[in-house]
């Protein structure tokens, strides 16, 4: 670990062990499937075996006759309660249980409630559904064909599969720059459909108390408060009679942002039976039906001067959104934050247009640690820069260094209108190159290439010298959504609340609206409060994940916990500190104006006395001490934090691969990641998040994909088919850090949860393509499986989103 700028030298920040580990290492975590309630029943979902078909009949009588079955729910049952359809997070609707057609393989058709989970599964086989097959739309490139079947005939007047057209940037100016540029290069590239696949699948326990009318839902939720509002809107239950508890969550990565039909069915099951109903997805259901990610078919163009100055980018995207537009993103951003695609470079101009289409695939669209599509944007620009470097025959590091934004340019407004808060990009790239010993890597590569040219592999059967590739990616993220004036989800502005209470003995409880799925909020947020109040993190309890015990807020995704709720935690602590100042003034018989906060205590300025600690002040605040008029007793505060802007973490990544030219196998030899996420509250946790994201990026680059065959069958519906990286594919990650505080965040922190997932795929792909340079390969689509690499070498690249034939 190399650090250029140290973190805060003293105080509560630092690599302390996590509080939450105490339960996890003992097997005492409490995840949704660990919940057992008296009389609890179990649900199971019957799913469509086909991608597109009209339902002509459903016979549930045999299932209902099963001795352990309590209820069978169909679309018709739900329609009677106006629950057959629910709103998505993108102004569309989605079928809870199909009433008219099924629109993707794995779509929910019926829900069985039984006394145990095995019986519920058995009963699914007793339901008869008649399907009248319809032609499916599988290839997004044919979704807008004039003769394409109309998937969403449920929408009145819908005559095609177009969802939206969206653009950003200045089209006319971009066209001008391109027309006059020395060099213009174009490249098609696919960021294929992948799935976040947290190790714990999605699930819920719904318990409607028939006496009080209160619905309690234990759920794998990244956004408990948003879920509560959504349940209220969907079911019509009053919001104060709904309590969402998100207990320990086994990873989210965006998969647990939305509400899935199974959740609604479990609620209805509980209403119908009068018992709690548990529903847990199996892995196939998770991969086949819940929010996928990416699926961007991109056409990129880059314009530059012959000297390597990048002038502009022009992008067209065909976005496959599946059968329902269920992308979870701020309302005004139908392509998420893809508009930040100019990346880390000072371009004169840029323009992109994105067309969203329906296909007969599962809905979703924004998930998987992408910061609302910034991973697609970064992949595009970082591949285009490498394409340009190849064309100009310059080193890709040199080309980047030439075009990176300079520190003096911040705050920087990009060609598409984003205001980057702070950064020192060249410093991060230089550090990464130093850690990697970049010149030595290039020297080794050159030497090996010369050797291969001089002596082609002899027939001695030794494996041929492997091809060495070096890939660079520089990314800028935009996280911490967001300013509520122009960022909302379902009309809910993206601000988050925090409540802080200091008990009489000086122990504090912080309640927050965000929800950890492994990020360590119970530790990090305690550190934030501790730092502000001069406490030990051990003396701060963090409450989260229960809507009855926490203030409203939008939840944890898009790397927004630290930028938004972390700021709220700091602000609410400062409010408490200011309250404490008044109390301390009364205790010290001084004017509050004469007090200063130093070394974790309020002291009288210029007085060598010890002053008063928060613990002493807290006791006094709860005592009979006389306080100035208008000052309430006790020591607590609330806040709602409305971020003034996003934060813009960034990083420089270098990947070194070896490729077997005969088999196409790729080995990642080294991966160097320098991240700058501003001030690091707990560097150990930050590094852990980076490690995880790097593995994610490696997985997407090399193995993860959800493809479909021509009938619309999902070809990635199990962990045998949807491959996640293991310990064997991951190198020992080499990290570095620079620290450029965010100027507008109260503690200078930026989000980091998704940085590595956003930044790393391009580094891996660039490295593989670099290795294949001797074969003249300029691009190949992810995932770069052995077959895909070999086919790229052959000049017959695979179409990775379709069945391999």
């Amino acid at each position: 670990m190399s650090t250029v700028t140290p973190n805060f030298p003293n105080g509560a920040y630092g690599p302390i062990r996590r509080k939450e580990d105490a339960r996890f290492i003992r097997g005492k975590g409490c995840y949704v499937d660990d919940i057992q309630l008296p009389g609890m029943l179990h649900g199971a979902v019957l799913r469509s075996p086909v991608a597109h078909a009209r339902i002509t009949a459903i016979d549930t009588s045999a299932a209902e006759a099963h001795p352990r079955v309590r209820a069978v729910i169909t679309g018709e049952t739900l329609a009677g309660r106006t629950l057959a359809w629910m709103p998505t997070l993108s102004q569309d609707v989605q079928a809870v249980l199909a009433t008219d057609k099924v629109r993707f393989q794995g779509q929910e058709v019926a829900f069985v409630v039984a006394e145990d989970r095995y019986a519920a599964r058995d009963a699914l086989e007793l339901i008869d559904v008649d399907y009248e097959p319809l032609p499916p739309v599988v290839d997004a490139h044919h979704a807008l064909d004039p003769d394409a079947p109309v998937i969403r005939d449920d929408i009145e007047g819908k005559a095609d599969n177009r969802i939206f057209d969206w653009e950003a940037g200045d089209r006319a100016r971009t066209d001008e720059i391109f027309a006059a540029a020395d060099v213009v290069l174009a490249q098609d590239m696919l960021y294929p459909r992948v799935h976040p696949a947290p190790l714990e699948t999605c699930g819920t326990v719904a318990d409607l108390d028939p006496v009080t009318g209160k619905l309690t839902v234990w759920s794998t939720s990244q956004a408990p408060h948003a879920h509560r509002t959504m349940y209220a809107l969907v079911t019509g239950l009053p919001e104060h009679k709904i309590r969402i508890i998100s207990p320990d969550v086994g990873g989210g990565f965006g998969n647990k942002v939305g509400i899935y039909p199974g959740y609604i069915c479990a609620v209805v099951g509980s209403i119908i039976t009068g018992h709690p109903v548990k529903w847990m997805e199996d892995r196939s259901e998770n991969l086949m039906s819940t929010s996928f990610a990416r699926d961007y078919h991109m056409h990129g163009e880059i314009a530059a001067r012959r000297d390597g100055t990048i002038l502009g980018l022009r992008v067209k995207v065909l976005a496959d959104h599946g059968a329902f537009n269920g992308a979870a993103q701020p309302t005004k951003f139908p392509a998420g934050f893809f508009g930040v695609f100019t990346g880390s470079y000072g371009l004169t101009t840029a323009h992109c247009e994105v067309t969203g289409v329906y296909t007969n695939k599962a809905p979703g669209g924004v998930a998987y640690s992408c910061s609302f599509r910034i991973t697609e944007a970064v992949y595009l620009v970082e591949r285009m820069v490498d394409v340009l470097a190849r064309e100009l025959d310059v080193d890709p590091a040199e080309l980047r260094m030439k075009n990176l934004l300079r520190p003096a340019q911040f705050p920087y407004t990009s060609a598409t209108g984003w205001e980057y808060d702070s950064g020192d990009y060249p410093r991060a790239l230089r550090l990464a190159m130093d850690i990697a010993d970049y010149p030595e890597l290039r020297r080794e590569q050159h030497e090996r290439r010369q050797r291969a040219l001089a002596a082609p592999p002899a027939g001695d059967g030794a494996k041929p010298d492997r091809l060495m590739g070096i890939g660079i990616s520089f990314f800028t993220e935009a996280v911490g959504a967001g300013p509520r004036g122009h960022m909302d989800i379902l009309g809910l502005g993206m601000a988050d609340g925090a409540d802080l209470r200091v008990h009489p003995t000086g122990k504090a409880v912080l309640s927050i609206s965000v929800q950890t799925q492994g990020q360590g909020h119970e530790t990090t947020f305690a550190q934030i409060v501790a730092q502000e109040l001069g406490l030990s993190p051990d003396d701060v309890e963090v409450v989260h994940g229960d809507t009855d015990r926490t203030p409203f807020g939008l939840g944890t995704y898009g790397s927004r916990s630290t930028p938004v709720s972390g700021a709220a935690a700091a602000i609410v602590s400062r409010k408490v500190r200011e309250r404490a100042r008044i109390v301390a003034a009364a205790m010290l018989e001084a004017s509050a104006d004469d007090l200063e906060w130093t070394q974790g205590r309020w002291r009288v300025r210029g007085d060598p006395g010890p002053g008063k600690s928060i613990a002493e002040i807290a006791m006094a605040a709860h005592s009979g001490l006389e306080l100035p008029n208008g000052v309430e007793g006790h020591l607590d505060a609330s806040t709602v934090y409305n971020p003034p802007n996003l934060t813009f973490p960034f990083g420089a990544y270098i990947c070194v691969v070896d490729v077997d030219p005969d088999t196409g196998e790729v080995t990642v030899r080294r991966f160097i990641a320098v991240d700058d996420c501003g001030v690091r509250i707990n560097p150990m946790i930050v590094e852990g998040q980076v490690h995880g994201g790097l593995a994610d990026g490696l997985g997407m680059a090399l193995m993860q994909v959800i493809a479909f065959d021509s009938d619309g069958n999902c070809l990635g519906g199990s962990f045998m088919d949807y491959l996640l990286p293991t310990s064997m594919e991951c190198p020992s990650w080499e990290l570095g850090a620079t620290v450029t505080p965010s100027p507008h965040h109260p503690i200078g922190a930026k989000g980091v949860g998704e940085s590595a997932t956003v930044g790393s795929p391009a580094a891996v792909v660039n490295a593989v393509i670099d290795a294949l340079a001797p074969f003249g390969v300029r691009h190949a689509d992810m995932p770069l499986t052995p077959a895909a690499v070999w086919r790229a070498i052959q000049g017959r690249p695979l179409r990775t989103d379709l069945a391999i034939t």
Binding site: I25, R283, G688, T726
Partner: protein
């Protein structure tokens, strides 16, 4: 059918369906929810427990097959309040985030260290290669097991307390 299993040194007799998977018996019948499940196809390893002396994927073992055998789960790693060095290592080295794969990883780590007290990083990688972690990129899991190897001790000797605290050392 009636089965008798010795789970974490306690004997349990139960009437179960022959098809009941061991992971469900442990979790739903005995309430030992420390072991998890994450897939249908024996790939993820969240369910790893020991059957007699070896780690197995308990989603792929019938309770009936374990009749008459011993099972050891994560709940048996600590001796009272005395944590196993593997548990300490995972905490010290931030070898876990969401915690879902952790019990299975620790059971495999304990088994590895019992057979190979001084494993290399590569040996640890190989040992855990049948278990998926989505959070850590494996790096800190490997460091955690190396930490445990360094701090391993014969059974019965006292270990460090495992509760959270700020006095951290040895975090790589």
């Amino acid at each position: 059918m009636r089965v008798t299993l010795t789970v974490n040194d306690a004997e349990h007799t139960a009437d179960v369906e022959p098809r009941l998977l061991l992971i469900h018996f442990l979790r739903d019948h005995l309430g030992l929810t420390g072991s998890h499940w994450g897939c249908d196809t024996s790939n993820c390893g969240a369910c790893v427990v020991w059957l007699d002396e070896t780690p197995v994927k308990s989603c792929t073992v019938l309770t009936a097959m374990a009749d008459g055998h011993r099972v050891r789960t994560v709940e048996d790693l600590a001796r009272g309040t005395d944590l196993d060095p593997v548990q300490q290592g995972f905490s010290e080295c931030h070898g876990l985030q969401c915690g879902f794969c952790t019990p299975g990883m620790m059971m495999t780590a304990r088994w590895l260290l019992d057979r190979q007290p001084d494993p290399s990083a590569d040996e640890i990688r190989e040992a855990i290669s049948g278990q998926i972690c989505r959070c850590t990129g494996y790096e800190n899991i490997i460091r955690a097991v190396l930490w445990a190897a360094k701090h391993d001790r014969p059974p019965g000797e006292a270990g460090e307390p495992g509760a959270a605290g700020t006095g951290q050392e040895d975090v790589g």
